[in-house]
């Protein structure tokens, strides 16, 4: 089985792009499954189910979503293998722009949309900057000039990536993306693999459920803004 991590800001079009790419993979006779990671709630699993795509939903609830991801991803890969999948895709939203689910030597995809503005690429951390493939969506609703400027900004933020435009509605570009999905390595397990980048560290009183505000209640890994000047 091949494993692919897909991440991107909320509403950037990850699910649409994945659905269209699964169509293209199915036309080659490949069976693809999805693990959808989210925080509070998601209905995206129903969209996959409707297409007959095996899907597993993981809600992190009160936990940091990316820590939740990495604590469960190995089990997800086992689930995919048991289901006899050719390709397993994990879909997760980068909620603070600092997290990244990408794993070394595992095809890593970041989905970002033209409407998010030309300054967004540099605001997104390792999720974009360490991805192998960056997919730009919603190109059909902005001008050609904006598409070109946006793509060049993505290229500055991640010069080594393959950058592609995919239309999540018509599927233009999805067939081409599916070729990159099948070029990844076959894996049996993720045990012992490394994340491409460390997860943000957080271990303070608020992680443990503290709600009161003020110095007295802050313990552990606390950092203060510089308020001088």
């Amino acid at each position: 089985m091949k494993f692919i991590t897909v991440s991107g800001p909320p509403s950037s079009g990850k699910t649409s792009v994945i659905l269209k790419t699964i169509d293209a993979l199915a036309s080659r006779g490949l069976k693809t499954g999805v693990v959808k990671f989210d925080c509070l709630t998601t209905d995206d699993d129903k969209l996959y189910e409707k297409k007959g795509v095996p899907v597993k939903k993981g809600l992190s609830g009160a936990l940091c979503p990316d820590h939740f991801f990495v604590s469960n991803v190995e089990e997800c890969v086992r689930w995919g293998t048991d289901k006899g999948l050719d390709i397993l895709i994990s879909e997760s939203a980068g909620l603070c722009n600092r997290c990244s689910p990408h794993i070394k030597d595992i095809t890593a995809v970041c989905v970002i949309d033209n409407l998010s503005g030309v300054n967004t690429p540099k605001k997104i951390g390792p999720m974009l900057k360490s991805a192998d493939i960056v997919i730009i969506t919603k190109g059909d609703i902005v001008s050609q000039a904006e598409r070109e400027v946006f793509a060049s900004r993505v290229k500055i933020a991640n010069p080594a990536a393959t950058i592609m435009n995919v239309n999540g509605i018509t599927g233009q570009g999805a067939y081409e993306l599916s070729r990159l999905f099948i070029s990844g390595d076959e894996i049996e397990t993720l045990k012992g693999r490394m994340l491409r980048f460390s997860m943000p560290s957080a271990l303070c009183s608020y992680c443990l459920g503290e709600r009161r505000i003020g110095d007295t209640y802050q313990m552990g890994n606390v950092r203060k803004m510089d308020m001088e000047e």
């Binding site: 036309s27 600092r98 033209n114 409407l115 503005g117 030309v118 690429p121 540099k122 951390g125 390792p126 900057k129 360490s130 190109g139 059909d140 609703i141 902005v142 001008s143 050609q144 000039a145 904006e146 598409r147 070109e148 400027v149 793509a151 060049s152 900004r153 290229k155 500055i156 933020a157 991640n158 010069p159 080594a160 393959t162 950058i163 592609m164 018509t170 233009q172 570009g173 067939y175 081409e176 491409r196 980048f197 460390s198």
Partner: protein, 332 residues
């Protein structure tokens, strides 16, 4: 040549853009990127989301790209050939269509018939490896397939119908930003030229300091066509219908042709369709027929233009508060 990481910032001024995308501002240009990064404490790097190994790989790729872009004279595409594959039912297309610089080729067919697939085949340089089995040649030869994933060598620029501006900039700032991202030599001059040309296409003129978001539909299209003609590196332009409002469509197409673009236009507007030398008829996912615009058809163009002018005159009557009395079929 030394690695980019070991060359001073002053020798590669563009490198500051890369650092800025990580939130790092370079003040001392007499040091090298390697020295700069070495002086950042490890926990600061982690805060910035920088993994040095990955960072330096990206940095070298950035420098290589930039050098390549500076030395790239752009693709010289004189012709593009579509070699037919098959339609959705597997029937062969039996066509070989060559489009040359300055040609205008129209694409007709109902929604969902496969117009976007044809475009995608061109953009992807299909080599018998897409669902249609088509092949694309450039200048009569099979192109280097590594172009497929290259942003710099994007073959097709698309002017879509439902295009919006999402940036909050003036027309001048907007074009300038595009020119700068394309590293053109004199961005200010290019910007002025584009705005001047756009105004020659637009029915109502706009000023350089007009925000792009307040341009009319016709003005927006005029600006985008002029911008694509002069700034887009892509040799092929796909135009998705040009609505007949607020823009001189004939001049717009002439501008693209004059700038040596290969123009493909999806349209069902009779006047635009007859301006093309050929039209590709798409049915069931395949090229069903290629119709050459005959002299007979071109004769119809004149009558159609007159009709169009009459309609335009009536729009103006409405715009100025007039009435449309006594209109019957004699106007045709």
């Amino acid at each position: 040549m030394k690695k980019a990481a070991d060359r001073k910032f002053s020798e590669q001024t563009y490198m500051t853009d890369f650092f800025e995308s990580f939130g790092l501002k370079i003040d001392n240009h007499e040091i090298t990127p390697a020295e700069y990064v070495r002086n950042i404490p490890e926990d600061k790097l982690e805060d910035l989301g920088i993994d040095p190994e990955n960072f330096f790989q990206s940095l070298e790729a950035f420098a290589a790209d930039f050098e390549a872009m500076m030395n790239d004279k752009g693709m010289d595409v004189n012709s593009l050939t579509v070699i037919g594959g098959h339609d959705k039912s597997g029937n062969p297309e039996n066509v070989e269509l060559t489009i040359s610089k300055g040609d205008i080729i129209c694409i007709v067919g109902p929604t969902g018939s496969g117009k976007s697939r044809l475009l995608a085949d061109i953009e992807w340089l299909a080599d018998g490896d897409t669902p249609t089995g088509r092949r694309i040649l450039i200048n009569g030869e099979k192109p280097d397939l590594s172009m497929r994933y290259s942003l710099e060598h994007k073959l097709v620029a698309q002017l879509s119908q439902n295009m919006n501006f999402v940036m909050d900039l003036t027309a001048e700032e907007f074009v300038m930003m595009h020119a700068e991202s394309r590293l053109v030599e004199n961005p200010a001059e290019k910007t002025a030229l584009i705005i001047e040309q756009a105004n020659m296409l637009a029915g109502e003129k706009f000023k350089p300091d007009t925000p792009v978001t307040s341009l009319s539909g016709g003005q927006s299209r005029a600006l985008m066509i002029a911008d694509t003609a002069f700034l887009s590196k892509s040799p092929v332009v796909l135009v998705d219908e040009i609505e007949n409002a607020g823009i001189d469509r004939k001049k717009a197409l002439e501008l693209l042709v004059k700038e040596e673009k290969l123009v493909l236009m999806a349209t069902h507007d009779p006047i635009l369709a007859l301006m093309g030398s050929k039209r590709i008829v798409i049915k069931n996912g395949g090229i069903n027929e290629i119709i050459e615009t005959t002299g007979e058809e071109r004769k119809s163009l004149e009558a159609l233009r007159k009709l169009d002018e009459k309609l335009l005159a009536m729009r103006n009557i409405l715009r100025t508060g007039g009435r449309l009395d006594n209109i019957d079929d004699t106007i045709i």
